[in-house]
């Protein structure tokens, strides 16, 4: 038996409510899977999924326009983002793999984008290299370049100053470049 949160039941428009009910029936397991994987705690996962549903309800018009693949990605990204923020609120921040001291001591001039080595790399190769990046660096690049998080939110998620985000990005991209270069050798 699938249970549908009351927040969906309370949607005033019949068509919207039916849409969200179906969405919940189709994707709730995936959402719980994302939330449990990220938070590790079933109760927190419930909170995260519920919060994600609230966010999705706010975007019903947008969701209706998306094809099933895009919709699935959107739901996963939303659930993951909510789970990450919930984890931070609960003090379960991700393990720090970046060398914070080194990055903080970087001069601004070091934070120059120099990624043209990627230009000749197939996306599949790059994806493979991304898999090998430590999670924190991978998350940082994902949030910045794929999910379009604002710098404030990235800084909050990483527990760093907003004006340091650029340095951390440079560090992550250099690390990625090193991995790519190793693969090219």
């Amino acid at each position: 038996m699938i249970i549908v949160p009351y927040t969906i039941l309370l949607i005033g428009d019949d068509s919207d409510r039916a849409f969200m009910e179906q969405l919940y029936l189709d994707y709730s397991r995936l959402m719980y899977s994302v939330a449990v994987s990220r938070l590790g705690n079933p109760l927190d996962a419930e909170d995260a999924v519920h919060e994600a549903i609230l966010r999705l309800i706010d975007k019903i018009a947008l969701l209706r326009e998306k094809d099933s693949c895009t919709l699935r990605r959107y739901i996963v990204i939303t659930t993951k983002r909510v789970s990450i923020n919930l984890g931070i609120k609960k003090g379960r921040n991700q393990s720090v793999s970046m060398d914070q001291e080194i990055i903080e001591s970087m001069e601004d001039t070091d934070a120059v984008v120099d990624d043209r080595v990627f230009a000749n790399i197939e996306a599949e190769e790059l994806a493979r290299a991304l898999r090998e990046l430590p999670q924190r660096e991978r998350d940082l690049l994902r949030w910045k370049y794929y999910e379009d998080w604002p710098d404030e939110e990235i800084a909050y998620a990483l527990g760093i100053a907003k004006n340091s985000v650029r340095k951390y990005l440079t560090h992550a991209r250099r690390l990625l470049r090193t991995l790519v270069e190793e693969k090219l050798k």
Partner: protein
């Protein structure tokens, strides 16, 4: 940079944009494989299956524990945390098992039923115990729950109710302005969440049981545990009215 016309960008900026696009494609591919992994977990992992589907959950016990925590710590900061947690995790289940299990009524078919009270009269010589049927109240026809509020404010009409006898029963009333009342009762094995983010949470008593009152954006939710069941009233109006509805809930079977 993406807000700027390419004609106004430097070659370096365009190259950077190109690299970022490449990164996005790589993340797109990466995400697809991650979603497949999540779906594999969703299909295999028992914990996920239990979260997403209704099984013999220990929700009622969880409520009991947390309600007790509220009672014992109600004046401390922990009380608020415990209450919020209770609210977030288990307070409200308005559950639709599958689509189509609720019935929407244009006209309200209701019927009167006798409300039985336990009668206990103790005299010097003996104690008389019995059941008296001395009141009647209106409940929706086919109501599957064991309790029902005897007080519904004027102007509210039945909109929908749970149709089959299951682990829970709920009913929704609305008035001409769109305000609603939801009454929900569940027995062991049901659970859901209530949005308490930014809500004001207090406690009151309903039939001598501790009840939690969540106030958010003019919506009042009163929930409590009684007789191995938990109850929820959601009301789009005054808190005092919501509590009155909650306190009017009585056994109808």
């Amino acid at each position: 940079m993406r807000n700027q016309s390419p004609a106004l960008c430097t070659r370096e900026q365009l190259l950077q944009e190109c690299e970022e696009a490449r990164l996005r494609i790589a993340f797109f591919d990466l995400q697809e494989s991650e979603i497949e992994a999540y779906e594999a977990i969703a299909n295999k992992d028992e914990c996920v299956a239990n979260l997403a589907t209704e099984k013999q959950s220990t929700a009622l016990e969880l409520i009991r524990r947390r309600t007790k925590a509220i009672r014992t710590k109600r004046f401390g900061r922990n009380a608020l945390v415990a209450t919020q947690r209770l609210a977030k995790v288990v307070a409200v289940v308005i559950a639709i098992i599958v689509l189509g299990l609720t019935t929407v009524f244009a006209v309200t078919p209701s019927f009167q039923i006798a409300v039985r009270d336990l009668l206990i009269r103790v005299t010097d010589q003996y104690a008389e115990i019995g059941i008296k049927d001395n009141r009647t109240m209106i409940v929706p026809q086919g109501w599957t729950g064991e309790y029902f509020p005897s007080y519904i404010p004027k102007g509210f009409r039945l909109q929908q109710k749970s149709e089959n006898a299951m682990a829970f029963s709920f009913v929704e009333y609305k008035d001409a302005t769109g305000k609603f009342i939801i009454y929900f009762e569940a027995q062991e094995g049901s659970r859901s969440n209530i949005d308490t983010e930014g809500a004001r949470i207090t406690t009151t008593t309903v039939h001598d049981h501790e009840a939690m009152v969540v106030e958010k954006e003019n919506r009042i939710t009163v929930s409590w545990v009684e007789d191995e069941r938990y109850f929820v009233i959601m009301f789009d109006g005054e808190m005092s009215e919501a509590i009155s509805i909650a306190r009017s809930v009585q056994r109808v079977r």
